[in-house]
Amino acid sequence: MHQNRLLPFITLFLAAGLIAQPSARPIQVPVEEYQLQNGLTVLLVPMPNTDVMTMQMTVRVGSRNEVEFGKTGFAHFFEHMMFRGSKHYSRERRDEMIQQYGADANAWTSDDLTNYFITATVSALEPLLAMEADRFINLTYTKEDFQTEAGAILGEYNTGRSNPVLTMSEALRAEAFQRHTYGHTVMGYYTDILAMPNQYEHSLEFFRRYYRPDNAILTIVGGIETAKALALVKKYYGPWKPGYDPKPVPQEFAQHESREVALTWSTQTNPQLWMAWKIPAYSNSNTIYQVLDVLKEAQFSQWGELYKRLVIDEQITRSLRVESDRSRDPGLFTVQATLYDETLIDSVRTVISTTLSQAGEHLTEEQLTRIKNHLYYAATMRLNDPSSVAYQLLSFAQLTGDYHSLQYYYDQLEALDLSTIRTIQQRIFQPARLTIVTLKQEVHQ
C-alpha cells in the first residue's frame, strides 16, 4: 500500500570489477544494487542452478555504539530481542513459519554490525521476506520477555568462560582502548550482563536510534529472479521509516608507549602471549589492510617466517595466529601465540617484535606474487554458496557503505609493491602502538 513512495534510487547491473577502471582480476559477482526511498541499500545477486537463497539484513550498529556507561553488550543483547516476535508475527508464529519453510534463521553481532540472516529454499522468499520486514518495522516484546532473554545472554557468556581467550580479549581491549568503545568485547562486561534485565527502556531507545533503513543493507543471494525480489523488497521494506540518529562514538586517546597486562588462569592451560598493534580505521583510500594481510601470510601462514621458526623448527610455540581487524574506527592487529613453556614468553615476544619490524625487508618479489595469487584464489573459492557470497559482500559493504570496496581491496592488493609494504610496516610495528597481554597457569601453594 505504500508502493508509490518507493522508487528505486539507483539501479545498477554490473560485475563489481567492471566499474570505473577495469580490474586486472575482477571478483565476478553479478550484483544489482538499489536504494529505496527510505535509504535502505539493497544488494541482489542471482546464482544459477540453486534453489537455495539467503537474505541478510546488516544493521550498521555493534558494540562500537555502546557509548553509555553500564550498557556494554547491549547491541548483542538487542540482537536476541529481535527474535521475540513482532506486531503481525508473534514469536510462536515466527517459529512456526521457520519450521514450515525449513529455514535457517539466526543472527550475529560484532564491533561494527549486527547481521540477521535467513536461508531457505527460494519458494519461501515472499513469506519469509514479509515476516523479516515486520520485525524491523514493528518489533514488539514484553518487559518479561526482555528480562528472560537476559538469562540466555548470561548463558552465552558462560559457553565461553572455560576458555581463557574470552578473559584475554577482555583484558586486551580494556588496556588498548581507554576511551573508545572497542575497549569492551561484543559480549560486554559481566557486571553489565547481570544488570541487563533493568535496561528495558534503553532497548526501546536503542531500536529507535539505530534500527533504521538509512543505517542498513539488505543482501539477497541465491536462486532468485531479481526483478521479483526487488518488487517484494519494495513492498515489504518500503514502509520502514528512516531516522538514523546515532550517538557520537568517542575517539581513542593517543597512545605514547607500549602497555602490558599479566593474567593468571586457575585450570589447565598453555601459557599465552598476545601482542596487539593499533591500526587505522578501514578506508578505500589506503592500502594498510592489504599490507597487513600480505605480512600476515608472509609471517604466519604455514610457510611463514615466524610460523616456521616458532612452530615448526624450534617447536616452542603450540599455535601462532593473527587477527587483523577491518573496522570502522582504528582497531588492532593481534598476534596470538600459545606456548608450551611460560619461561619462554619473553624470548618469543622479542622474536615476534623484531621480526615484524623488519617483515617487509624480508619479503621478496616472488613471495609477494605468490601471496597475491593465494589471496585471490582463496577469495574466489569462498564464493561457493549463497551464504558465503552474501558474507563476502556485506563484510565489505558494512565498512564503507559501498559493496565495491570488495573489488577496491583486491585492485589495491594487485598493485601493491615492496616499497609500500616496507613503509607501512615501519609505521605500524612501533612500541607506541603495542599492547601485550600474557597469561600463565596459576601457581597453587
Binding site: 521457520i98 529454499t121 518479561e144 528472560t148 585471490y376 573459492m381 554458496d385
Partner: protein
C-alpha cells in the same frame, strides 16, 4: 589473467555415478561430475578410525593422519610441500572419527593437476620424518590436556558422555584425540605400522566432484590401485550395553558454569525407516542450533536457563560455522544425546531434571498433530540447506554410499514425506528410553550435586528475573521429578583423559 567465478550447482544434484569394483584391487569411487563449477572436490574416506586404536594407544589413528598430512613425501620435505601447495590455495580438511578418516580437499579446476600429486604422495609415500612426527605428537598431547580438558567444557562433556556410554574395552571408549600419556608414548614406528595395516585400497572410498576429466579420474584410480591392498575387516564392536537405569559421571573442575551432556546407545541407521521417523521427532524436540525444538523453547526461551538445548539421533558434528550436520562422521554404532549448554551451577540439577522430564513427556504422550506437520515440512526443506556447497554434496554422497542408501538428502525428503504421526510416535516409543539416560556433567562442587541426585532432593530453579505463573507451576513438578539413578562416579578433571 581474467578470473571467472562460476557458481557450483547446489541442491539439484546430478545423480551420482557409483563405481564399485568387483575385484577390490582399486578403490571404490563416488563421482559427481559437473562442469558448472570451476572447483574440484576430492574426498578420500578410509573406512577406519579411532576404533582401530589399540586399547593402550588411543590417539594413534589421529596422530597417523596428522603426521602424514602435515608431513612430507619421499621426494619433498614438509616445508617444500607447504611451499608448493600455498599458491594453489587448496582448502584441505581432515576429519577423524571413530570409524572414518577423511581427507577433503577443494581446489580450482585449473590447479588440480598441480595439487593432486602433493596430496597423493603424502598418502602413498609418506616421508616419516622424525621431526614432523614429534611436532604432531606434541600438538596432540597439548590438545587433550589443554584444549579438551582445560579450556572447552562443552566438548569435554560430550566426550565424557561417550566415555560413559561405551565402557572401557569398547573401541569407541576414548576420544579420537586419545589420552595424554598414551599419546606421549607413541613412536614413529607405531604410526607407520598403523598406516601400513589400516590405510589402503581395501577400505578406501574416493569421492570426486566438479569438472574433473576422465583422464584425471583414471590417473587417480591407477595411483591408488593396490595401495596396501588386502581385505580389511573393521575392529569388531561389542553389542551396546543393556541399560536398566540412569547413571552419572561428574567431573570436578573449578568452573563457574556446568556443562551437561546425556544420552543412550541408539542403533538406528539411515538404512532403517525408523531413522527418518526419529529425524522428524528430533526436528521438533531438539534440532541443533535452531529455535524450533521443544528443549530450546522450554529451557532457554521460556526460562532463560542457558544459551541452547538440543538433541541428536546420531553422532553429530557441526559443519564449520553453520548449524548443519557435517558429513564424514558415519558410525557403525550410534547414540541418542541431549546437549545442555552451560547453566549456572545452582541450576544444574534442575536442568538435568527438566531435559529428562521433557523427553519422558514426549515419549509418553507422543508428538501432537500440529507439531508433527510442522516438523515434517521443516525437515524436508531444511535438509536441502545442508548440501548448498559442492563440498558438502560430495560428503553426503560418500556418506550415503557408506550407509548403503540413495543420496541422503533426497532420502530424507522421500522417507520423511510419507511418514504418519502414528509411525513417528511408535518409533519414538520403540527406541527412546529416557529412563536409561547416561549423564555427564563438568562442574564444581560435584559431591554436592552427587548427593542431591542420589537422594532425589528437590531442585528449585534460581531465576534472576520474574517468569509467568504457568511456568512456575510446571517448575514445581520438574523440581520434584524423581530420577532413576543407579550409579554416580566423580572424577577429577585432570585424571579423565590423562
Amino acid at each position: 589473467m581474467r578470473w571467472h567465478v562460476r557458481f557450483p550447482r547446489s541442491v539439484m544434484i546430478p545423480a551420482a555415478l557409483v563405481v564399485l569394483n568387483a575385484c577390490g584391487t582399486v578403490p571404490e569411487l563416488v563421482l559427481s561430475p559437473s562442469d558448472e563449477s570451476n572447483l574440484i572436490d576430492i574426498r578420500l574416506n578410509f573406512k577406519v578410525g579411532s576404533a582401530a586404536d589399540p586399547e593402550n594407544q588411543p590417539g594413534l589413528a589421529r596422530l597417523t593422519l596428522w603426521t602424514i598430512m602435515h608431513g612430507g613425501t619421499k621426494d619433498l620435505t614438509q616445508e617444500e610441500i607447504t611451499y608448493l601447495k600455498y599458491p594453489l590455495a587448496a582448502a584441505e580438511n581432515l576429519f577423524i572419527d571413530r570409524d572414518n578418516l577423511v581427507i577433503s580437499a577443494t581446489v580450482h579446476g585449473e590447479k588440480f593437476d598441480d595439487y593432486y600429486p602433493l596430496l597423493r604422495d603424502r598418502l602413498l609415500r609418506p616421508r616419516w620424518d622424525k621431526k614432523d612426527f614429534e611436532h604432531q605428537k606434541k600438538q596432540l598431547a597439548a590438545t587433550i590436556e589443554n584444549s579438551l580438558m582445560g579450556e572447552n567444557d562443552e566438548w569435554f562433556g560430550k566426550e565424557m558422555l561417550q566415555w560413559l556410554l561405551y565402557p572401557q574395552g569398547h573401541p569407541y571408549h576414548w576420544p579420537t584425540v586419545g589420552r595424554v600419556e598414551a599419546v606421549e608414548n607413541l613412536t614413529i614406528k607405531d604410526v607407520e605400522a598403523f598406516w601400513e595395516n589400516h590405510l589402503g585400497t581395501g577400505n578406501l572410498v574416493i569421492g570426486l566432484a566438479g569438472p574433473h576429466t576422465p583422464k584425471q579420474r583414471k590417473q587417480i584410480e591407477k595411483d591408488f590401485s593396490g595401495f596396501h591392498f588386502k581385505s580389511y575387516e573393521p575392529t569388531p564392536l561389542p553389542a551396546p550395553v543393556e541399560l536398566s537405569a540412569q547413571a552419572v559421571v561428574l567431573v570436578e573442575k573449578p568452573t563457574d558454569a556446568a556443562a551437561i551432556s546425556m544420552g543412550f546407545p541408539l542403533d538406528v541407521s539411515p538404512a532403517d525407516p525408523d531413522y527418518y521417523a526419529l529425524l522428524l521427532f528430533n526436528a521438533c524436540f531438539g534440532q541443533h542450533r535452531t529455535f524450533v525444538g521443544r528443549l530450546m523453547n522450554e529451557m532457554r526461551v521460556k526460562r532463560g536457563l542457558n544459551y541452547g538445548d538440543y538433541s541428536y539421533i546420531n553422532h553429530f558434528v557441526q559443519n564449520s560455522y553453520s548449524p548443519y550436520p557435517r558429513p564424514g562422521v558415519f558410525r557403525r554404532q550410534q547414540y541418542f544425546s541431549i546437549w545442555i549448554r552451560p547453566v549456572k551451577r545452582e541450576n544444574a540439577h534442575f536442568a538435568i531434571r527438566q531435559a529428562i522430564w521433557e523427553l519422558n513427556d514426549v515419549v509418553e504422550h507422543g508428538i501432537p498433530e500440529e507439531k508433527f506437520q510442522h516438523a515434517k515440512e521443516f525437515i524436508v526443506h531444511y535438509a536441502k540447506l545442508w548440501a548448498a556447497s559442492q563440498t558438502s554434496q560430495l560428503g553426503f554422497l560418500v556418506d550415503s554410499h557408506l550407509a548403503g542408501i540413495p543420496y541422503y538428502i533426497d532420502q530424507i525428503e522421500s522417507m520423511a514425506s510419507s511418514l504418519t504421526r502414528e509411525q513417528v510416535n511408535a518409533a519414538v516409543q520403540r527406541h527412546l528410553t529416557p529412563e536409561n539416560l547416561q549423564i555427564a556433567v563438568i562442574c564444581k562442587d560435584a559431591p554436592e550435586l552427587a548427593e542431591a541426585l542420589r537422594t532425589n532432593k528437590p531442585s528449585p530453579i534460581h531465576y534472576d528475573n520474574p517468569v509467568s505463573p504457568d511456568i512456575l507451576e510446571k517448575d514445581q513438578e520438574i523440581m520434584n521429578y524423581p530420577l532413576n539413578i543407579s550409579g554416580i562416579e566423580i572424577l577429577a578433571y585432570q585424571e579423565t583423559f590423562k
